[in-house]
Subunit: 528 residues, 2 copies
């Protein structure tokens, strides 16, 4: 029988290892819920610890701090039942648990069976799986993470399902998660409450989007995405049902990377950032996002023209900096470039022809200037690479492939253009000239990114099939793409694992981020 009527859902932003702040947030939500007359309050998975914590989950001291914080939280849980996500040890191994708190005490742990995230492999171990507990004569099925997928097997007589998760944002995941939860509620004929974390930790961005679906499978509460929220749902009354709102993919990606960048800086105690502004689309988008998130005052950019930089690029970059009100310096790299080449005369011998070496020197010298600014002034360098470049190996290792964080490294080139247009939806923040021109690294005269490859539209379409959809070369060729291009791109992807290995953390907005969901060996003959 459904006796618990008023359920509070607290969608909060936690920081890994910040036990005091996490604890205080949880306690103040419990107090608020009690004051509102709720009899149950639910938090997300890993609330006490923050996540991903990786190797910290093996540290006894870390787990002890979790327990200590949880005990303090429990003292606040009187006159209300609280479900809080926390890692605990079972048989000397760390598992992910929902702790049931009531009467000021920790009453019980329900532990997660399905360990399905690359961030947990080797750190979180299999627990027992979903369980039914009885609270105030209400039978609640509690499932942590993907254990929700198992529950139809033994949901007989259950009055309510609670699913606590810590599920990162990825394109399309919000709609999909809501749809699945609605289907589960409909199938079981009981309300389903889902609680997700919100906020960024390292390269992960949790989107929130917590939900309550009624026994008919209709949404009766859909919490906002990418921000904290607190909501109380009364399961006793007739609730207005909500339509699943249309999700704008580009808008969601934009909010995800803003949240990820902001939290990376705030949680690590950083304030100021820098980057090289080339006049191209990638650095323009990164600058626009960073200016919005960190404030134009906290951003500094360098324009680092070489012999091969076009006048329009410098002009576009300068216009962009002026529009945003960012402090900028123009530092031509020509003298140091020439000095370096002259120093290398004896090393190169007669190999004096301009080539990839000379291109890379330009890119790497720019990094040295930017890192000097970073070291001297405390502005952290933001990376400006996109996923298409990372896939095929454009970009220079230790050159433009550097930075403390990549905010567009999980976006294909065309998605970067989408983002630019979205940023400009109300006013021309990124000069239209930057969006309109053909991409070029400008490392040699009249260079275009697409030299030797088809236009980005086609490259992106092939990359998307290979990487996001895991299609084989044969499938892609059969779909009508040029066989030679497909083979060439395939080989380029495999060959450039080496560069990606040394890349910085990438804010994840897909389910197939390089280095996380997609890891390949460097030594391998496969595919050649």
């Amino acid at each position: 029988m459904l006796r618990i009527m008023k359920v509070a859902i607290a969608q909060l932003n936690y920081t890994v290892g910040d036990f005091r702040e996490n604890r205080d947030k949880i306690i103040s939500a419990i107090t608020k819920a009690k004051n509102s007359g709720a009899s149950l309050i639910v938090f997300a998975e890993h609330s006490v610890s923050g996540t991903p914590a990786y190797g910290l989950l093996n540290k006894v001291q870390f787990l002890y701090s979790c327990e200590e914080a949880l005990e303090q939280i429990a003292t606040a849980a009187s006159g209300i039942t609280a479900l809080v996500g926390v890692p605990v040890q079972r048989n000397n191994r760390t598992v992910s648990a929902a702790a049931l708190l009531s009467d000021g005490k920790i009453q019980k742990y329900i532990t997660k069976y399905h360990v399905s995230s690359p961030d947990e492999y080797g750190f979180i171990h299999k627990g027992d799986g979903a369980k039914v507990i009885e609270v105030d004569n209400t039978r609640i099925m509690i499932a942590v993470g993907d254990d929700i997928a198992d529950i139809d097997e033994y949901a007989d007589g259950v009055d309510l399902v609670v699913n606590m998760v810590a599920q990162p944002y990825a394109r399309g995941i919000i709609e999909r998660r809501w749809e699945e939860r609605g289907r589960t509620a409909y199938k079981l004929g009981v309300p389903v409450v889902t609680l997700n974390q919100v906020g960024g930790n390292t390269d992960v961005v949790f989107d929130g989007s917590s939900s309550v679906f009624d026994a008919h499978g209709y949404a009766i509460a859909l919490l906002p995405s990418f921000e904290e929220a607190f909501h109380i749902v009364n399961l006793d009354v007739h609730n207005e049902t909500l339509a699943i709102p249309y999700q704008n993919k580009t808008a969601n990606v934009y909010r995800a990377i803003k949240l990820g960048l902001g939290d990376f800086f705030r949680k690590n105690g950083y304030e100021k950032a820098c980057l090289g502004l080339s006049g191209g689309i990638d650095s323009a988008v990164v600058a626009a996002v960073a200016a919005e998130v960190l404030g134009a005052d906290n951003l500094r950019v360098l324009l680092l023209p070489s012999l091969y930089s076009s006048d329009h690029s410098i002009e576009d970059a300068r216009m962009m900096a002026n529009t945003l009100g960012i402090e900028y310096d123009i530092v031509p790299i020509t003298d140091s470039y020439n000095q370096m080449l002259s120093d290398l005369t004896g090393v190169f011998g007669d190999k004096t022809e301009f080539g990839v070496t000379e291109e890379n020197i330009q890119s790497r010298l720019r990094m040295v200037y930017l890192m000097a600014l970073s070291n001297k002034m405390g502005h952290l360098l933001l990376n400006t690479s996109n996923k298409s470049e990372l896939a095929v190996g454009y970009g220079t290792l230790y050159g433009d492939n550097t930075g403390v964080l990549s905010i567009i490294g999980d976006l294909y080139k065309n998605e970067v253009f989408d983002l630019a247009r979205y940023i400009n939806r109300d006013s021309e923040i990124i000069p239209n000239a930057i969006i309109g021109k053909e991409p070029s690294a400008e490392l040699h005269p009249n260079q275009l990114d697409t030299d030797g490859l088809p236009p980005y539209d086609e490259v992106d379409a092939i990359l998307y099939r290979m990487i996001e959809e895991g299609q084989s070369r044969e499938e892609i060729i059969n779909a009508g793409f040029d066989a030679q291009t497909v083979q060439k791109i395939y080989a380029m992807i495999l060959r450039n694992e080496q560069k990606r290995y040394q890349f910085c953390p990438v804010l994840r907005v897909s389910t197939c981020t390089f280095g996380i969901e997609r890891v390949m060996p460097i030594t391998s003959k496969y595919g050649f």
Copy 2:
């Protein structure tokens, strides 16, 4: 009843994804075993595919190629039974299997239950575990990988145990593995045959050291470490028992990194390497190892003195290059350093005091010269960082923290000294002056590495306890180490995860290599 008497053990060096070469090696070992009258031949885990293959294990085409190669191998297995390691799909998930081949066909798969390596998490899934099969009236228990640990439970009536593994080298592992296998054989009262891979793939080095222990727990075959081997043991006769030979840790580490470096180059089709020779111990050791493995002719070094380089360092480096017969160039970086500082005048404003920024510029400029040599001449840059530096964050991101492979990045500073002395065991390859002097990065006047920290001996002792032994700060302080130093080092380790995240692959010689067994979040408040 033990009817199978002659067992061949083929300890081979496989390349990831090189199905043709792996297959041919396996087939020729089968032929050799047949010619020697063996009735059973055993290969290591993952023989057909090579390992680690990571995401390739999810590719249908990769698994199909494994199966195809295995079928070809099976045709050679007539008149003999072969046990071959291969990944296969079970319920749409990849598992690690021992394939039983006889009568020219694949007869059966025994699949691994314990997935215990970070290289397998998420790629290899749980199989069924060890099983007994009957071959020629002999009951053979087959255990893949760590499933050997489970077998006493159900080993009744077994005549022989076969354990195929792919276990990387780590300090002390050879003796430990032999001891464990001897104990298992003694406990069960049956012979135990253990087959390991040998050779390097990416950052992993398999040490071989395959073994046969008799029913009394005595060694009757101990195959060599770090090289291929083929051996036939006749279980029917009285075999001479072997003492477990003493293992020299430094000699083993030396052989491990030689094998790892050599295979990284050979298997990836590389020939030539380069590095910066500073006159310090780290680059001296890397140069000595590389010259031995790749040949002095394939090595080029740059001496890149700055204003702060001491005369003796340049002299020591030059002497070292001359002794090894390596081509070297001296390229002073002073002019480009001065040019860069002058270019940055407007950016730095009044912050002109010499500091960490100016130190890093030197280190990063050196990288630009070295990578220019690398790009122009095709010499791959070898990294020269050690584990102590990586732990506390000495070393410059995008400066000396660069390269295609780190060969001493899993060795503490004191182990690098051990290695230098070992390399010099017969003649002075590394000038004694380099071994004798105090470590210094020489990035500012009179700098010593130990500025601000106790001597490396003490730092290494603390690091070893923290990293390899997982001791807490309290334990280390209670053991008598200075509390302030311990806290300082602890904070330095946590703070420098960011640098390690972007580090190159490190040849692993411990069970706690950064980035593999030791992964920490970048965003975290823990420990501060």
